[in-house]
């Protein structure tokens, strides 16, 4: 305890050295005077009295020195002294300081930015107490994105599980909120009545739901609502009076009872949660087809909190034992869980971070980016090391002098490291800011439709700790080698010769090829990603996206019946077809590349009686204008026509569907039967009411995802009962403005009470769909460009220095008859040698990294030879450019001037 107190006092003394020095001097002065007085009294002569007093004290300066060692913390004091000196040196060389500091800030910032995203998307926990106790119940086919669970499955799981305190159900939804006469769409969620108890989440204001709020009709006072913190801030200006206010949500009056805590954005990462309603409210938003008790609708995210002492393994074992019972109870008809969904298995995993579609989409790209950005940091360190090394070698004399004057090796070593450390400190500050700004713009880049996902990028402790750690790493990586060189300076010869003798040569021989190797890797990765992106973008997807405008229309506020909603949608299409500037328009039952999918059960009869049955045909209900709007080409027969409505059901098959249902036969004029829910009737139940006649075959379209194979499509005319209150429209027009105006006008005229439609272009949708690729391509291209620039600078600096050191040698060569071209060739060859060595190593690394990218690539092999050749060519070109300038300088050496110094 006492020792600690002493250290605190000593640390404090570090900061008041001057005052304490004055006091010490005064005290010793007093001491001497008193002793001199005594000595005089004892009869000594004044001179002798003073001498004896000094002897007795043991020397003023020695005493002071001993006293100081005890007073402060000497190590710290020399450190301060060295730091002040280092700062002065950095200030004296602003060019060097700026170049090295910026390089480090760039490397550190880029790493901070990518880590911020990785942290927010992959590592962050839900902001609830003990998130590690949370588990999530999944439903997935091996290797496929996990599906949500059905209402009956949730109920059955809840009945049979024994390891959790309880299970909650959550569903991300969009609500139509009416405010001052206009209806706007708000992102939010439904949660089961026990949800907040399971999460142990307390409201910021008011109260959260309990079981009594989660009943049909919402209880005696109607439905209650919770607001998200941000929404409350923006729309209610943080006023407490929001509590008790009435809102119109999907045409239903609800009462606000609470505000959720800040930072809570729901259980699904990257989704906004501005409004939370009890699960029973589903009857309103899914009207007129509520899904709560339907065994074939999979829409609930189910999470639980483990009882103390239980583990995910226990939950898994519990589920394995009960899954058969759960499935039986969840779907007694066996139509779904034993039919199409038979291969899907229920599972349990950690629910610490909630559920994240972003994680599914971005985990791999982010891991890849972490690798690339780590390489970039190495490169930045290498460049800084080169710069510092050049500084050290030009300060050889200074180091020699200091060491001759008695500075210890450790102190010189520390001096160099300290200078690099200060640079890295600057890099840390700059990098933290840069990383934060970059992460923010990256997040906004992720969204091309609507608001950016609420990904929190504010620098948190974990992020700052990470950034600090990589700064320390960079300082060591860039400073150790130069510091070792500084220590190895032998004072004798340097001081005798009177000039810098050492060059950065030896090290440059290693650093530049290393830089080249990293550049090759980064460039190769970026080129592969870019080529694969262009493939996705340009390759024929079965659509002509340019000129197509799409709209999501929410009719729920008008509370239409199912039939009415259908009639409205068809009327809107008719109105659109007649609008000015519109070339074609259609309704869509499930829009393409829209994060949704559809599958139906169909079968056909071959000429020889063979039955071809398929569970995975995508039934798309459209208008006659569909093919003209989307630009999907008809390969055989014709498209759908209005007249087909009256002559019984007609359909168009995509090429792959035609080949599946009628292998080797002509599909035109044949029938495809809707299989219903019972596969055993395939080929037997030939009810003409369930059949459609194939009138045309279209090209394949990548409906599900641009990255995946085209599903088998069956297009038929919409009858109007295919959708609920959400309608998708698509319009091909001359200008996007005309289309948007036409859509708004048509919606207003047909359903006055509908929410303002969300309008976006097909190209925006593609952009949104390819956001991970865009992010990867953009960032990796940036990294590669920076890498090339740094490498070129490194090579240039090395060769320029070399030419300068060898001026005399080149002069002699020229005087002896070498042509200027030889000097140029010599320098360029020297550069090429370094680059070739680096390229050889780099190619091996590049192929390894490319393998890591593997599944992120589309239509390009990870060892694509064309890309490899291009990368090598680019590097050689850069090497040539970087060596040409110093090479030219070599040719301009005047032999007379150079030799005169001999």
């Amino acid at each position: 305890m006492r020792r600690l107190r002493a250290w605190v006092v000593r640390l404090g003394a570090v900061f008041s050295r001057e005052r304490r020095d004055r006091e010490l001097t005064a005290e010793l002065e007093g001491h001497l005077r008193m002793q001199i007085d005594d000595n005089l009294r004892a009869g000594m002569a004044p001179e002798e009295a003073r001498r004896q007093a000094l002897i007795k004290l043991g020397g003023v300066e020695q005493t002071k020195e001993n006293y100081r060692d005890r007073r402060g913390v000497p190590v710290l004091e020399t450190l301060f002294q060295d730091s002040r000196y280092a700062l002065r040196m950095l200030r004296k060389n602003p060019g060097f300081t700026a170049a090295a500091g910026l390089t480090l800030a760039l490397g550190i910032g880029a790493n901070a930015a990518i880590f911020t995203l990785t942290y927010a998307v992959i590592l962050k926990s839900l902001p609830v107490p003990n998130p590690r106790q949370l588990v999530r119940y999944t439903f997935r086919e091996p290797g496929v994105t996990d599906l949500s669970l059905s209402g009956p499955a949730y109920d059955a799981l809840r009945r049979h599980q024994t390891v959790d305190t309880d299970l909650l159900a959550w569903s991300q939804e969009q609500f139509a909120i009416e405010e001052k006469g206009s209806v706007s769409r708000v992102d939010g969620a439904l949660i089961s009545g026990n949800g907040f108890r399971v999460l142990e989440l307390h409201p910021f204001l008011g109260r959260v739901f309990g079981d009594r709020d989660d009943v049909t009709g919402g209880g005696p006072n109607g439905y209650q609502a919770l607001l998200g913190y941000d929404y409350w801030k923006q729309h209610f200006h943080e006023s407490r009076s929001a509590l008790g206010q009435s809102l119109s949500v999907n045409g239903r009056a609800v009462t606000v009872i609470g505000v959720l805590p800040p930072g809570f954005d729901g259980l699904i990462a990257g989704m906004r949660t501005d409004l939370v309603m009890p699960l029973a409210f589903e009857e309103v938003i899914h009207a007129p087809n509520p899904m709560r008790h339907h065994a074939g609708s999979f829409w609930l995210t189910v999470m639980g909190r483990l009882k103390p002492g239980e583990s995910v393994q226990a939950a898994r074992a519990n589920l394995r034992a009960t899954e058969a019972t759960v499935r039986e109870e969840a779907d007694p008809t066996h139509h779904f869980l034993s039919g199409f969904f038979a291969p899907f298995r229920m599972g349990v995993e950690s629910g610490r971070s909630g559920r994240s579609f972003l994680k599914v989409d971005f985990q791999q790209p982010l891991v890849a980016l972490e690798v690339l950005v780590g390489l970039l940091l190495l490169l930045c360190c290498a460049n800084t090391a080169l710069l510092v090394l050049a500084r050290v070698s030009s300060r050889t004399r200074e180091f020699a002098l200091r060491s001759a004057l008695g500075a210890s090796r450790a102190r010189l070593f520390r001096q160099v490291l300290l200078e690099v450390g200060l640079l890295a400190g600057g890099g840390l500050l700059g990098g933290t800011w840069f990383g934060w700004a970059a992460a923010r713009s990256l997040v906004s880049m992720l969204a091309s439709i609507g608001q950016p996902p609420p990904i929190d990028v504010t620098p948190r402790a974990a992020i700052i700790a990470f950034t600090a750690a990589i700064s320390v790493f960079s300082a060591l990586a860039a400073g150790l080698w130069p510091a070792l060189r500084a220590v190895r300076v032998a004072p004798g010869p340097v001081l005798k010769q009177g000039g810098p003798v050492s060059s950065a040569k030896g090290l440059g021989r290693w650093i530049v090829p290393a830089q080249v190797a990293v550049s090759v890797t980064l460039l190769f990765a970026a080129s592969l990603l870019c080529r694969s992106f262009l493939r996705l973008r340009l390759e024929n997807a079965g659509f002509r996206t340019a000129g197509v405008t799409m709209a999501d229309v929410d009719l729920s506020a008008a509370k239409p019946s199912r039939k009415q909603a259908g009639r409205d949608a068809l009327q809107m299409v008719e109105a659109l077809e007649n609008a000015p500037g519109v070339e074609a328009a259609t309704v869509l039952s499930a829009p393409p590349i829209h994060d949704g999918w559809a599958a139906g059960h169909y079968f056909s009869l071959g000429k020889q009686g063979a039955v071809h049955s398929d569970m995975h045909t995508w039934p798309e209900s459209v208008s006659p204008g569909y093919f003209a709007t989307m630009g999907t080409r008809i390969l055989e027969g014709r498209g759908l026509a209005r007249a087909d409505q009256d002559t019984g059901r007609a359909c168009v098959l995509s090429a792959s569907a035609a080949a599946y249902f009628f292998p080797g036969e002509d599909a035109l004029g044949r029938f495809v039967y809707s299989g219903g829910e019972d596969p055993s009737k395939d080929g037997k139940d030939l009810d003409p009411g369930n059949a459609c006649r194939v009138v045309g075959v279209s090209e394949d379209a990548r409906f599900l995802s641009l990255r995946e194979a085209s599903p088998r499509m069956l297009y038929s005319l919409a009858e109007g009962d295919e959708w609920g209150t959400n309608v998708s429209l698509a319009v091909r027009s001359r200008t996007a403005g005309l289309a948007a105006a036409a859509i708004r006008d048509a919606v207003r005229r047909v359903t006055a009470a509908a929410a303002t439609p969300a309008i976006f272009s097909f190209n925006d949708l593609v952009k949104q769909h390819l956001r991970q690729e865009r992010m990867l391509v953009g960032l990796s291209a940036c990294f590669a460009a920076i890498a090339l620039l740094l490498t070129a600078l490194g090579l240039y600096a090395l060769l320029a220095r070399d030419v300068l050191m060898r001026t005399r040698e080149i002069g002699v060569r020229l005087a002896l008859g070498a042509r200027p071209g030889d000097a140029l060739g010599m320098v360029i060859w020297q550069g090429f040698r370094l680059v070739l060595a680096g390229t050889a190593v780099g190619l091996a690394a590049a192929l390894a990294v490319a393998k890591l990218l593997g599944s992120l690539l589309f239509g390009v092999g990870p060892a694509d030879p064309v890309t490899l050749a291009a990368v090598v060519a680019v590097l050689l070109a850069v090497a040539f450019a970087a060596s040409y300038v110093p090479g030219r300088r070599a040719t301009r050496v005047d032999p007379m001037v150079a030799l005169r110094y001999e």
């Binding site: 006091e23 010490l24 005290e27 007093g30 005077r33 008193m34 007085d37 005493t63 006293y67």
Partner: protein, 114 residues
Amino acid sequence: MGDKADVWQGTLALMVLKTLETMGPLHGYGVARRIEQTSRDLLSVNYGTLYPALLKLEQEGYIASEWGQSDNNRKAKYYKLTRAGRRKLAQEAREWEQTTAILARFLAPGEESS
């Protein structure tokens, strides 16, 4: 000076504390003189080593200092015992007595045979 024993650090601290207890507040020169006198000039304090020792005791909170006037009107820094210092002195003195008692028993003639 060689025939006088040098004062080693740990004991010096104890002597300083004891001196301050018996004499009350005192400046560094006074402490040094007092130690020499008490030891009847058998001990020679190198006055220079006294100041770091005083500083250490002050950092540990056993003594406190303030500026004052000496008898012959010189400005001097006066040290005095704190309450913690008094406790420390009692404890150290006790330990010292124990140590010397043990050593005395060891060194007493004829003890080994019994």
